[in-house]
């Protein structure tokens, strides 16, 4: 009998978690770690956005295979913005591979499909980028950006229960702007409902694999990350209290799991990206505009404003697309000009400096370096990762290159984490999509 429990905690950094384990904010997690588990630092997907990172984990492949590059994308051969959702995922998720319900190919599927002896039933709860929910072997409750609870649940009986208990898909982050205190309160309330719903399915449903995500942490960090280590901050205690509650919930799930399935089950915890304090937001499109690489007209929606003479534009957070003749109706950059243009943009980006002359851009990747698979045509030509503190943005409406917002935290690529059985070790820092293999491996042994 194979059983796995996976807990996802959105946006929890390795560094913060280590500190809280050391400082006894999370004594239960410390105890679990002493029972045969190891905490590792991991890399998020590139870009380090929840929809991309969780999809990379869910499918165990890189965006070149699963086709998700961000919360927003442009429709092929056009400038019209759309929001990719679960229907746009081109590779099977691990629960589809284990449940033997998938119809899509992937390298992970090729590797394991013959080794899975029988279908396994999963409960997948609040995992980002699984909306709308789709039929699978088990229960699926979609996470961010789910809009309609009915479309966020499979099967229908799941909706009936969640509806009856006044389930909340997400906190209303819009509220943070008006009343931060009230927003903090709603984070705890939302977490309570989440815990109640998770426990309901955990205890009451038959499953072979249980995967639940806590997403309140990401919201907490976006608006309160400055409170994480600052005793003077008015939200310091609330911030810590959230982690104390989280620690208790992890203990509850872990103990229930061990009690039922002894130590033979597979247990892991992971985050999809890290977090760091924000110094400034950086509006890359404004920078490209000032460097003469981007021209926008006043009419049109979002990227419909891109003019002929544009050479490159940016989508959140820093996905730079070359305005090529082959890919866009008004594209002007010819294939043979691309290599030089890419070099020029890279050079220009490296000149981007903060107030004290410090570097803003940490790493620049060309798409061939990071994306592999059948769906790289839609991939950005360049992706940049910033130095911690500089939050890169895709907004088209900014008048300055640097700015401030209400956010106190920003995503980081290099500081995600996972907790895995100690017999698993890595020769180099793993990225989030490499972790999925261990789950399927467990079921194929």
């Amino acid at each position: 009998m194979k059983k796995a429990l996976i807990i996802g905690i959105d946006g929890v950094p390795y560094s913060l978690l280590s500190t809280y384990i050391k400082n006894d904010v999370m004594p239960n997690l410390k105890k679990i770690l002493s029972q045969g588990f190891t905490l590792h630092q991991t890399n998020a997907s590139i870009p380090d956005i929840s929809s991309v990172s969780w999809t990379s984990f869910n499918t165990g492949v890189n965006p070149g295979e699963h086709g998700i590059y961000g919360f927003t994308d442009l429709k092929p051969d056009s400038y019209s913005l759309y929001f990719p959702n679960s229907k746009d995922i081109k590779a099977p998720t691990f629960w589809e591979i284990l449940g033997k319900t998938n119809q899509k190919p992937s390298t992970l599927f090729q590797k394991y499909h013959k080794k899975i002896s029988h279908p396994y039933r999963s409960v997948i709860f609040n995992v980002p980028h699984t909306y709308p929910a789709w039929p699978m072997n088990g229960i699926l409750v979609s996470g961010f950006v789910a809009i309609d609870l009915k479309k966020a649940t499979f099967p229908d009986s799941t909706y009936t229960y969640l509806h009856s208990m006044n389930y909340l898909i997400d906190v209303e982050a819009e509220k943070a702007k008006e009343d931060k205190m009230e927003f903090m309160k709603s984070l705890f309330e939302c977490f309570e409902i989440r815990k109640k719903a998770i426990s309901h399915f955990f205890v009451g449903e038959p499953w072979d694999l249980f995967f639940a995500c806590i997403t309140e942490t990401d919201r907490l960090h976006h608006f309160f990350f400055d409170a994480s280590n600052d005793k003077e901050n008015p939200y310091y205690e609330s911030f810590l209290r959230f982690y104390v509650e989280l620690d208790k919930f992890i203990k509850y799930l872990y103990e229930q799991f061990v009690e039922r399935y002894s130590e033979k089950g597979f247990f892991m915890i992971l985050s999809d990206h890290g977090f760091a304090p924000v110094k400034k937001e950086v509006y890359i499109n404004k920078f490209l505009e000032e460097k003469g690489l981007l021209a926008l007209k006043n009419e049109g929606n979002f990227y419909e404003r891109v003019e002929n003479k544009t050479k490159a534009f940016n989508l959140d957070p820093c996905r730079i697309y070359i305005h090529g003749t082959d890919a866009y109706p008004r594209g002007t950059v010819r294939e043979e000009e691309k290599t030089d243009l890419l070099e020029e943009i890279k050079k220009i980006l490296r000149t981007l400096k903060g107030e004290n002359g410090d570097e803003v851009i940490d790493k620049i990747f060309e798409k061939e370096e990071i994306y592999h698979g059948p769906h790289t045509r839609m991939a950005p030509d360049l992706v940049c990762l910033p130095k911690d503190g500089y939050d890169l943005k895709g907004s088209l409406e900014k008048k300055e290159i640097f700015g401030y917002n209400i956010f106190k935290g920003m995503h980081t690529w290099h500081d995600a984490f996972c907790i895995l059985p100690s017999n698993i070790s890595f020769s180099k820092k793993p990225s989030v999509e490499e972790l999925t293999d261990y789950i399927i491996q467990y079921y194929s042994q």
Binding site: T72, F83, I147, E172, F302, D391
Partner: protein
């Protein structure tokens, strides 16, 4: 009784019921075909003299034909017309070219309406929305309470069976009342046809194109159509399979997605 008369009777019943329940009531008129149909029904309900004000939320970006039509009907039908405009934001240059369409709608429509409701202490507004317009509207009730933030708790609504309408709830700020909720797009056009109701000329085909849904100039695009008369439009709608609002810029679910992403700093 024929189908359209049945629809009409139900609407008039709701309009009169609403007026009986709420003194501080007004009707929202976008000048489009649906709210013009509602306006016509209100006139019928009170024998030509509507006893409450008619609000037009003016974003300043409407088609010239719409302003002309509005003023002509207001005079002809002796309407107590109130114009709601977000002057402050208009002065600041808010418009579809400035910022996102979402912000533009929010400021020039939603916030303009909020201030009209506040200014005139309105307790109820009549709206010409229809159940078949959009997925989310399928959940609407005839009497729908809203709070001061315009929030609609669509999962907690009375059943409205057997023409029993609940017009009081605890803590509500105002009521939205939807007398033509049960009309389909086809019903509206058939009713316009039967009643000989005047309608903005934008709905009729010019050079092979006509508007199926009208609003602000930058956010509406015409559809391919040769329908130049009401009869031709009725026939076109009868056989059409595409969505009525396909010419509109934004779809509700996309708007929510955008709001959620923006609240976390994306876009």
């Amino acid at each position: 009784m024929d189908h359209l008369t049945r629809l009409e009777n139900k609407s008039i019943y709701i309009i009169r019921e609403a007026y009986y329940q709420f003194k501080d009531i007004a009707m929202l008129w976008s000048v489009g075909k649906d709210s013009t149909t509602l306006l016509w029904l209100c006139r019928k309900a009170f024998f030509g003299h509507i006893p409450f004000p008619i609000i037009h939320i003016d974003t300043s970006y409407k088609f010239p034909e719409m302003y002309q039509f509005r003023d002509a009907r207001a005079k002809e039908w002796n309407l107590n017309l109130l114009i709601g405009r977000n002057e402050e934001k208009l002065k600041e240059g808010m418009g579809p070219g400035q910022g996102s369409k979402l912000d533009c709608c929010n400021e020039l429509k939603t916030n303009a309406l909020k201030s009209v409701i506040k200014k005139y202490h309105l307790k109820a507004i009549l709206l010409g929305i229809r159940r078949d317009e959009h997925g989310i509207r399928a959940k609407e009730r005839y009497f729908s309470p809203r709070d001061s933030q315009f929030k609609w708790d669509y999962e907690n609504q009375p059943a409205e069976l057997w023409d029993q309408y609940q017009s009081t709830v605890e803590g509500e700020e105002h009521f939205r009342i939807h007398p033509i909720l049960h009309f389909t797009e086809f019903d509206v056009w058939s009713y316009v046809q039967r009643e000989g109701l005047p309608i903005v000329s934008l709905y009729f085909s010019k050079n092979g194109k006509r508007f199926r849904s009208i609003g602000c100039v930058p956010c509406c695009s015409p559809i391919d159509s040769n329908a130049q008369t009401i009869d031709e439009i009725v026939e076109e709608i009868r056989i059409s399979k595409t969505s009525e609002r396909s010419g509109r810029a934004q779809d509700k679910e996309n708007i929510y997605t955008m709001q959620k992403l923006r609240a976390l700093g994306y876009m």
